[in-house]
């Protein structure tokens, strides 16, 4: 199984320009704030859900649905304590649950899930390089966006190494699940040290290999990928703008 969510489908979202996609991702975070009642944000949530299936993100949704449920429940529980309401709905033991608190918790829970859906649509349709390409077009310097790309590339490698190290240390009798809180954290020292060391042993090698490939020779670079701006970009951006406008008009009126 791939660690990332990207699924090459050649579909609508994948062929949107990375910069447009990043802008739309950020813009898609706005509508959830333009509703204070569950029913005001729920339509947007349903819309995103449909869009997610349209983007062939179904398999990825299966990976995160538990998280979505946890966030939803957590939101209701937390805001029941932290949001001041005025009309008591019912009591659980000594705690009075307010109607407003509950509604706010539900609204926020839906909001959080909207963010997840937006992110999943984005991540399903965007390879890492496109993501960092978009960031660099939005003003992130190349060295930094490259470092981010390289981090994405190295992460699965480090995770593999981590798993191998866990096995090697368990074979030496390390029991990760024993002891109290401090002791349990300390059990990870024999794992963290080799993870970092194996990374460090590669540091010089990576830097040398990078420079051998001309990294940093000139300020200017060319790019293999072309991202033409097509009707898809206009459609997607206008779509989101319309949603923002409609929900905004409703919210502020």
């Amino acid at each position: 199984m791939s660690l990332t969510f990207y699924y090459p489908s050649g579909g609508f979202f994948e062929r949107v320009h990375p910069v447009s996609k990043l802008i739309c991702l950020m813009a898609s975070f706005v509508p959830p704030f333009l509703g204070n009642e569950p029913l005001e944000v729920f339509p947007y949530f349903s819309f995103l859900l449909l869009a997610a299936f349209f983007a062939q993100a179904g398999a990825n949704l299966r990976r995160v649905y538990k998280l979505m449920i946890i966030l939803f429940v957590m939101s209701i529980v937390l805001w029941a304590f932290f949001y001041r309401g005025k009309s008591a709905l019912f009591t659980v033991g000594r705690i009075v649950i307010m109607k407003e608190s509950l509604l706010y918790g539900v609204t926020t829970g839906i909001r959080l899930n909207c963010f997840i859906l937006s992110a999943i649509i984005f991540l399903t349709s965007t390879p890492i390089e496109d993501f960092t390409y978009g960031l660099s077009k939005l003003g992130m310097p190349f060295a930094a966006s490259f470092a981010l790309t390289l981090s994405f590339r190295l992460t699965p490698l480090f995770m593999e190494t981590g798993q191998a190290i866990v096995m090697a240390q368990k074979a030496r009798g390390l029991d990760l699940d024993s002891g109290g809180i401090i002791k349990r954290i300390r059990h990870y020292v024999p794992i963290i040290v080799p993870v970092l060391v194996s990374g460090l042993r590669r540091a010089d090698q990576l830097a040398v290999a990078l420079e051998s490939r001309g990294f940093g020779k000139t300020k200017k670079r060319s790019a293999i990928s072309e991202f033409p701006i097509t009707w898809r970009d206009y459609v997607l951006i206008s779509f989101i703008l319309v949603i923002c406008f409609v929900m905004g008009a409703h919210h502020f009126s």
């Binding site: 490698l157 030496r172 029991d175 194996s198 060319s222 790019a223």
Partner: protein, 555 residues
């Protein structure tokens, strides 16, 4: 011969604040279209030579540098490594540290993007190079999903996309299996044939002999320079320089022949011409099999991560107490997965694994450590402690050994691997061979009955390999059961008593070492490459394990 593409004149270099010269007054050159092999023991200065030739020292690794390096008659000293990209291409051992992108096409483009190459030319070169290196079908794959051989070829291809006139390779084949090694060597050979200049560092003499010229290094100096047939002709000289002598050279030396054949076929031709006849298989008194009880029993084990790509496909085997067993197979044949079921690290999807008749999952991975000791391929994946003593004591403490007994146990384990007296040393300053031995000591200290080692000889030079394997033979004679995993038929032939051949998650052959090595079809089915002496023996219908056995057959 045409002019020298690369020339080093009186080059010396010492790293950082070190007094010791890593290379000392070296003169070295590579001509246009020449394929030069660079060999020598660990620490002889081979890598430093490559680094100096490619401008990596003193630009990147600082230190005291003197002498002159010229490429295409122009001095490169003072130029940044990035500025030399497109003139000098370098490929290193660790393929993971040479890949930066999340798919193959982007990886190939990366260097050209840095050099601001026009997009149309990029596509042309990518297609051409991908074809040449055999990556055409993999263009959209993630590097992470490629095999080691494919990753290393990708690293090579992405360097070649910059059109370097000079290609320098620092042990690029070390972490590859035999088939991938040969494939990479063929490519380098072809590149040299088509006008590129290639410099290749390797310990692997059997493959090195294909080079046009060989340079032998020792203690930072070049001690020999010439054709393989001249330089490697004396087996003792090879051993002195940390190399295994090419087997055909050793054979001919033992037979008192002047020729030094570069291939098994050539050897056969010469032997026939000289009238050598092999006597019927000499009666060998092989070490008798241990008639021990079954220690590890594997019954019809199946394993997969996803059902459509099974890793183990019904493996059954039995390992007897006191045996020296080798699991032989290509990378990806399921060897490492198989041994992980021995310790209950992985649970078979179906089938069972027993240790002395008890199902291993009942004992559990942590407890199994006292029964089966694991030494993984890379010692860096287990070493962490501040000094050698703490490192070895770690396992003992985990198993609740009383503190006052620990020093004695540690000392005993260190003595067994020949590292006595190193208790206070930082494991990370040890050389790879010693770190590997320390890893064995760590496992040994817990007094397991079985020792399992994954590729124990990878990345070691000839002397270190022999040291490591002799250590295992010694432990075996003291009663430890030894299981090694390797793709080196040579190691199996020299040390194993019993061999299991794995291919695509199945055991396709099992028997005594001699039985197995007589079946060349079996080895080739598993994509394994038998050592030259075994192959030559097969041509005469003999089942031999070593050069000396073969030489005897001809006497």
């Amino acid at each position: 011969m045409t002019t020298n593409l690369l020339s080093l004149k009186n080059v010396s270099f010492a790293y950082g604040g070190s007094e010791r010269l890593a290379i000392n007054n070296v003169n070295f050159s590579i001509a246009q279209g020449e394929f030069v092999g660079i060999a020598g023991a660990s620490g002889a200065g081979k890598s430093t030579l490559i680094r100096c030739a490619s401008g990596i020292t003193p630009q990147f690794f600082k230190g005291r540098f003197s002498g002159q390096v010229r490429v295409n008659a122009r001095p490169i000293t003072g130029k940044r490594v990035a500025e030399l990209a497109g003139i000098i291409g370098t490929v290193f051992q660790d393929f993971e540290a040479q890949l930066f992108s999340t798919n193959v096409r982007r990886e190939l483009a990366f260097g050209m993007e840095n050099l601001c190459v026009n997009r149309k030319i990029m596509h042309q070169r990518i297609n051409k190079i991908a074809q040449l290196i055999g990556l055409s079908g993999l263009m959209e794959r993630e590097p992470q999903s490629l095999s080691g051989g494919q990753k290393q070829r990708l690293a090579l291809a992405s360097v070649l996309c910059l059109n370097p006139a000079l290609l320098l390779c620092d042990e690029p084949t070390t972490d590859l299996d035999p088939v991938a090694k040969n494939m990479l060597l063929d490519i380098l050979d072809d590149l040299a044939g088509s006008g590129n200049s290639v410099g290749l560092v390797t310990h692997d003499t059997e493959r090195l002999i294909r080079a046009d010229r060989i340079v032998l290094m020792r203690d930072g100096s070049i001690v020999a320079n010439g054709k393989a047939t001249e330089i490697l002709s004396d087996p003792q000289f090879c051993i002195d320089n940390g190399l295994f002598a090419p087997q055909m050279f050793s054979l001919f030396s033992l037979l008192g022949l002047k020729d030094r054949p570069l291939s098994v076929d050539e050897a056969k031709e010469v032997l026939d011409r000289e009238g050598f006849v092999a006597k019927a298989s000499p009666s060998r008194t092989d070490i008798t099999m241990p008639s021990g009880d079954p220690l590890i029993t594997v019954e019809d084990v199946h394993f997969y991560y996803t059902p459509d790509s099974p890793v183990l496909n019904g493996v059954s085997l039995e390992i007897e107490q006191g045996d020296f067993v080798c699991l032989l197979g290509q990378n990806g044949s399921g060897k490492t997965t198989l041994i992980k079921t021995f310790n209950a690290f992985l649970h078979p999807v179906s089938g069972r694994v027993f240790f002395k008749g008890i199902p291993v999952e009942k004992i559990g991975p942590s407890k199994m450590g006292q029964k089966i000791g694991f030494v993984f391929q890379n010692p860096d994946q287990m070493l962490f402690a501040a000094n050698v003593f703490e490192e070895v004591a770690f396992g003992l403490r985990n198993y609740g050994m009383p503190e006052k007994e620990i020093p004695q146990k540690v000392a005993a384990a260190l003595k067994a691997v020949g590292l006595n007296g190193t208790e206070d040393i930082d494991p990370f300053i040890m050389v790879k061979g010693d770190r590997q031995k320390l890893a064995v000591a760590c496992v040994l200290a817990c007094e397991p009955e079985v020792l399992i080692l994954d590729e124990p000889t990878t990345g070691l030079d000839a002397n270190e390999q022999v040291d490591m394997m002799e250590l295992l033979v010694n432990l075996n004679s003291l009663g430890h059961t030894i299981v090694i995993i390797t793709h080196s038929v040579q190691i199996a032939a020299s040390y194993a008593r019993r061999i299991f051949i794995l291919d695509s998650g199945k055991i396709i052959g099992e028997g005594t070492t001699r039985e197995i090595l007589g079946k060349s079809d079996l080895l080739s089915r598993a994509n394994l490459i038998a050592p030259p002496c075994v192959r030559l023996g097969c041509m005469y219908g003999l089942s031999v394990l070593s050069v000396s056995e073969l030489a005897e057959a001809f006497k």
